[in-house]
Structures are given as C-alpha cells and as structure tokens.
C-alpha cells in the first residue's frame, strides 16, 4: 500500500483547531496518523498514542516515501465551490483535464463545476459523464453542481433527486438568476428533502439591463453601460426572504456589493440558514481595472468599488462570508479580444487564487487558519463532505503543501488552464502550492 510521510511542516487543520509543526502520515488514500509537536496526538481510532510511538512515525517502514515539508505549510487541499470546467460542450475553452490541472497547480484538490455546459448538467446522464471523465482524466476531485431548472431556463425544476443520487453536491442555475420567485421558492423547498445547498447567482436582470460593468463614475467616463449594485442587493434580499419562507439552505454566489454583505450579515444574525462566498477578484480589484477597456476585467457580477471591497473584507473577518471561491470562468481569446461591450464575461482564477487570498492574511483581515477554513473546511461542510476539508485521521488524503514565501510573477502563457483570460497577468505574487496531493497521490509538484 502507498505510504507517504509529510515531515516537519507547519500543519494547519482549522476543522480540528490544529496549528503546529508536525508530521502527517498517509496510507493508501487516507490520512493514517498526524503528529504535532507539543500537542496531544490521536491514533487511528482517536485513542491516545504514546509519544514514543509517534516520534518515529513510519520510521522502520522501507516502502515509505517521505516529503520534507520543513518551512512549508501543510493543510487540507482547497475546495473550490465555484468553477466552470466548460466540458461537455465548450472544450475549446477548458476541459475537465486542463481545468483540474489548473486546480492542482493552485492547491485545490476538489472543485465544484457549474451546470452551464452544453448540454446543461440538468440530468443524471450529464452528471455521470462529468464524473466518468473526471475519474479517467481529472487531476483532482470534481464535484458536479446540478441545474436548478431544466436547461437553465428558469421554467421547471430539474430532476433534483436523481441529480443528487448521481453525485451532484448542490444545485444552481449560475450564470443566470432564477428570475421567477415562485420557481426559486419551489427549488429551495424541494431541495430540503435532500439537504442540498441551493446556490444563487443574484441579479435583477431588469435592473442590470444591458450593463457591462459596475455603474459609477468609471462607467460614465468610459461611456459603458453600468450595472448598479442594487441589481445584486435586490435579488439577495429576495432570496433571503425565500430562505426564511422555505427554511431551505441558501448560498449566495460571488457576493460583490456592500449592500449584499449587510443583508447576509443581518440574515445570519436572525438565525437563517444562509451562507455566502466571494471571489478573490472581488476583494482585490475595483472597477478601475476596466479603464483601457480591459476585457479581462469584465465579469458578472462586475468589479465594484473600494467601499465594496472594504465591506467584503469586514464580512470575511466577522464570518458573514463563509467561503472563498474562484468563479474560474475560462474564455477563448476570440471571445475576449473584441470590443468591451461585445466581450464574454469571466476570468480564470484557480492558479491565482491562493496568493491573492494570502494578501488577506498579510493585511490582517484573516488569520492563516481562518483563511484555510474558508478555502477547505467551510466548503466541505456546505457540501456535506465529511471526509474532506480536514486532516483528521481517516479523512481523504487531499492535501496542499504551500510555500508561503515563494515569490513569482504570473505569466498567463504558462498557466495550466486552456484559457488565458486573467487580469493578473504580470502581477507579482507571494505564495504558491508546491505539492498537491489527492487521495494520497501527488498530482502536482514544482
């Protein structure tokens, strides 16, 4: 059996309150043992193990491979709640193979993929296709998200029960809001019997109109049509009201406005079952990134303002925002190399997320452990994945080993993703995954 010892790293496992120098032993696809200097140690069944036994963790084992992780961070592999893998249907933008390789290079060991493929993932056969491809070619775990409505049309519910049974971890019509409040109510109610998360792309399409960027002075100067922040706030407020009505599990995707953050905070204070995610670009860039008609700064929801970033950071700090997700959205250069109003929405994010997130730690927004929780333990909990997002004994051996001090410059041409649409090309970054382990196997190393 495959045995791997990760030695001498700083082990952080937020789910179990672990933060210390120590060793992690992997056997097969699972975590076998973990030893932290100066801390209580737990054996396979949680029983106390004598210190002398663990000091020589795996010592006499000849078939053991050892990774020296001294000076490095060892933590649960990251779980991205929000990606677009584009397969099936748009393989020229990304495939399950290239998307999962990008994920591995970014320290992600599981990625949830949205349903807006062609055909749409609104039935079990598409879910099974994605899972089969992921099994054959994927570098990391792929967690399909099923469509709320058939064909993402917002008219009738998909067969949510069968989607769940075939492996979907949540439902969402992401990319399109469910405009019909009656249907959204039914989705939240219906999903309750499966305890499934309903992920909402919040946008009042009538108010957003044909806007292409945040509405404000920058859009006025550029002569581009704006999307007011109220277009998001209104839909977040509606969905919170529906969650209150239905007692369903609501998750707000890619939150971007200070108004939405306040609404989610208030809903949580009232005890509602509501969670939220934010993307690294929405806490890093403002609408000024669009100046020069940079189509790699075009996405939906659009980049907002410094005030929104400040509110999002407060929301991350006080727990209003539970998770950080990339909204990795590969687009072919032909769809970006055009006039701004004609360009496709979205940016890739899997390979730039970690260093952008680590800025939250250096800016004292989050502790390192809090950040890792928002990238691993919290998403695992939201998807109901008990053996992921943690380094507890017996958990899946999905691990990221990170060099927090590694300085590097983003070169879009060198990224693993099939697409190049990133506004961070040329950015100086600090922090890089140096080894990514999925089910006990090293899937990425540099």
């Amino acid at each position: 059996m495959n045995r791997l010892l990760i030695k001498g790293g700083r082990v952080i496992d937020p789910a179990n309150g672990v933060d210390g120098i120590g060793d992690v032993l992997i056997e097969g696809e699972k975590i076998k043992e973990i030893r932290i200097e100066g801390q209580r140690v737990k054996g396979p069944k949680g029983q106390r193990v004598k210190d002398s036994d663990t000091r020589t963790l795996g010592h006499s084992d000849t078939g053991l491979r050892t990774i020296d992780a001294s000076g490095l961070l060892v933590c649960p592999g990251f779980i991205d709640m929000h990606t677009h893998l584009r397969e099936p249907g748009y393989e020229y933008k990304e495939t399950i193979r290239t998307g999962t390789m990008a994920a591995a290079a970014g320290g992600f060991t599981s990625i949830a993929c949205m349903a807006n493929t062609n055909p749409v993932n609104d039935n079990a056969s598409v879910t099974r296709y994605i899972l089969k491809k992921a099994m054959e070619e994927g570098a990391v775990n792929v967690l399909p998200i099923g469509a709320i409505s058939k064909g993402l049309k917002g008219e009738t519910l998909s067969e949510i029960g069968e989607l769940k049974d075939s492996g979907c971890v949540a439902i969402s019509d992401d990319g399109r809001p469910v405009t019909n409040s009656g249907l959204m109510r039914l989705a939240m109610e219906y999903a309750r019997q499966f305890n499934l998360l309903v992920i909402s792309h919040c946008e009042d399409t009538g108010l957003a109109g044909d806007g292409v960027m945040n509405e404000g002075f920058v859009s006025t100067k550029l002569g581009l049509k704006g999307i007011p922040d109220a277009a998001e706030d209104i839909m977040v407020a509606r969905d919170i009201a529906l969650a209150e009505l239905t007692k369903g599990r609501l998750h707000i995707a890619h939150i971007s406005t200070k108004g939405s953050v306040a609404l989610v905070r208030n809903a949580k204070q009232r005890g509602l079952n509501i969670t939220a995610e934010v993307t690294p670009h929405h806490f890093t860039l403002t609408d000024e990134a669009v100046i020069g008609y940079n189509t790699n700064a075009k996405m939906n929801p659009p980049l907002r303002t410094m005030q929104d970033i400040d509110a999002i950071k407060r929301g991350l700090k006080d727990g209003t925002i539970d998770a950080i997700a990339t909204d990795h959205a590969p687009q072919d250069s032909d769809e970006k190399d055009v006039e701004f109003d004609k360009a496709a929405n979205g940016i890739i994010g899997l390979e730039t997320a970690l260093p952008l997130c680590l800025r939250l730690v250096s800016d004292n927004v989050l502790t390192l452990s809090e950040l890792i929780a928002k990238l691993s333990a919290n998403p695992a909990k939201l998807f109901g994945l008990n053996s992921k997002g943690t380094l507890k004994v017996g958990a899946d051996a999905d691990i990221a080993i990170v060099d927090l001090n590694k300085e590097w410059i983003v070169d879009a041409k060198e990224l693993k993703s099939k697409s190049r649409n990133t506004p961070f090309d040329g950015w100086k970054m600090k922090g890089k995954a140096v080894k990514t382990i999925v089910a006990g196997k090293i899937v990425y190393e540099r």
Partner: protein, 308 residues
C-alpha cells in the same frame, strides 16, 4: 509643428496646449476652403482610411473633404458594405487594413473604446470619429473653435449642454474640452439621462432647461435618439420636447448674445424648434464649416512634415 502623439482618441487625455495648437492650426486652414482651388499639397502621398461602422453624413464627409483638401488619398469604408457583414472582427479588419499601409484610420464605431482598441492594434495614427457613448473629440474641437471665434476666448464663458448626457459622446468630449479651456459647464436633462457621477468631471448638473440656459453664453442642444424613448428613458417625445426642447419661448429668458450649437442631425420640433435652429442665435452651420478646418488641422498635426 506636430502633435507629439500617435492618435487622437479622447479630449480627456489631451492637454490644454495641444487643444490650443489644434484650434490655431484649424483657424489658419479655414482660408483654404474659401479659395477657388480648395487644395494644398501638404499631405500628398498620404493615405487616410475612413472606417465607419455607423451611419454618418456630416462627420464622414467632413473627414473626407478635409483629407482631400490636404491632397491625401482618402478611402471610405462603411460597415454595411464591408466584410463586417460577413462577421469579420474589428481586430481582423484592423490588421488587414494595416497591411495596406495607411497613414491614418478614422474610426466611427458603436462600441465605447473601439478606437482605443484599434489604436493599440495598428502602427498608424487613429482618429476617433465617435465611439459609442464615450467620446467624439473632433466634434468638441470644432465646437471649441466655433465658440472661440464668436467670443474670442473660452475662459470664463458659461456653457449649457442640454439633453441625453448618458448616451452622448459629444457631451463627454465637450465637458472635458470646455472645462480644460476655463469655461463653466452645466449639463441638464431628465435624471434618467444624467450618468452616475458626471459632476466629478467638474460640471454642474441641473434638471430644468430654464435654469441651465438662464445665464449661459452657449447653449448646446444634443440630439435625442428616438430609440431612447422605446427604452423608457422618457415617456413620450411630446413630454421630452415640452420639458427639454429649446423653442423661442424658453429662449426668451436667455442672454441676448447667447449662441446655440447642435452637433446634428437635428430632430426639428423635438429637441430644437425650427425657428430657433434656423434663427439668428444659431451657429449650427458654422459648426459644420469649422468641422472641415479642424479635421484638416488634425491630419496636418498628426501626419504632416517628416516622421520624427
């Protein structure tokens, strides 16, 4: 004397002394159009392409005449009769035109930012002849020339720009241009057509045309695009005309030496009544005349003399 720049894309990024140079150069070119032989050899051997993705009479003709009076070879391309209808992208069109080695491309395009994108793609000069709702710099320059001729200065004048500010590239370029030359600019229109944060450019915002024109030296009426009514930005053309149309009754409260500008084409009886458009305060045809001179100046200052 040449401009130390490759392109003319916006008034926002052009300095006051550059504007002054363009205006004084244009002033000196006006005389060429009064001659019997309306041609100077200055730009002989230069090739100028007018690439128009939108319908235009005034601007396209003006650029074409300006190029020809400078002895440049001018080629006109309309999107409706070009490979654009076959789905060619702006980038491919740009690269193909560049392969024929023009000296300047004049671009009119419905997308904001199109001229900036084109300028990044080609080595030749690019003049923005209107991009979406962004800017229309040559229009602002001819408006500045027209006003300066009348008042002999711009500094200290009060300019009122009336109408759909949100969708107007003419408004944006004129706000920047007049403020740079020291005028006070007021914009007025229905709140649905005043874009977010426009006052940060330094202009004043009002919602009543009467208040805006009361002490104005210059009233600039913007064309109201009738499709905006379909988008619901104002209830009816009748109501727009009643509230924001300039007629002789509203004009009676303006200054006695006020002048009226309009970039054209005008909707008679909508944003401006015929008696005002054709009346003694109107400089509308003077604007058109100055348009040729300004565009000759732009070609000369970008392309004239030897390349540095």
């Amino acid at each position: 004397m040449r401009l130390k720049r490759k392109d003319i894309l916006t008034i926002e990024d052009i300095a006051r002394d550059e504007i002054e140079l363009i205006l004084s150069t244009a002033q000196s070119f006006k005389e060429v159009s009064e001659r019997e032989i309306k041609k100077v050899p200055t730009l002989r051997g230069r090739t100028i392409i007018n690439l128009f993705y939108e319908a235009s009479t005034r601007t396209r003709t003006s650029f074409e005449i300006a190029a020809k009076r400078m002895s440049a070879d001018a080629i006109n391309i309309s999107a409706s009769t070009s490979s654009v209808v076959k789905g060619e992208t702006l980038k491919d069109t740009a690269k193909n035109l560049e392969a024929m080695n023009p000296d300047c491309i004049v671009l009119r395009h419905p997308s904001s930012g199109a001229s900036e994108i084109l300028a990044r793609l080609v080595k030749c000069s690019v003049i923005n002849a209107g991009d979406g709702s962004h800017e229309h710099p040559s229009q602002a320059l001819l408006d500045l020339l027209t006003v300066r001729e009348r008042f002999e200065k711009i500094e200290g004048l009060k300019i009122a720009i009336i109408g759909d500010i949100s969708h107007s590239r003419v408004a944006r370029s004129n706000i920047y241009g007049f403020i740079k030359l020291g005028a006070e600019v007021t914009v007025a229109g229905p709140p649905t057509m005043i874009p977010s944060g426009i006052e940060k450019t330094g202009c004043r915002v009002l919602y009543k045309i009467e208040d805006a024109i009361k002490d104005a030296d210059v009233i600039m009426m913007l064309r109201i695009q009738l499709e905006r009514q379909k988008a619901g930005l104002f209830p009816t053309v009748r109501e727009y005309s009643r509230l924001f149309g300039l007629d002789s009754i509203k004009l009676a409260n303006a200054k006695k030496d006020v002048v009226i500008l309009h970039p054209g084409p005008i909707n008679r009886g909508v944003e401006i009544s015929s008696d005002v458009a054709d009346g003694p305060y109107s400089l509308i045809l003077g604007q058109v005349k100055n348009g040729v001179a300004v565009r000759m100046a732009l070609f000369y200052l970008l392309l004239g003399g030897s390349r540095e």
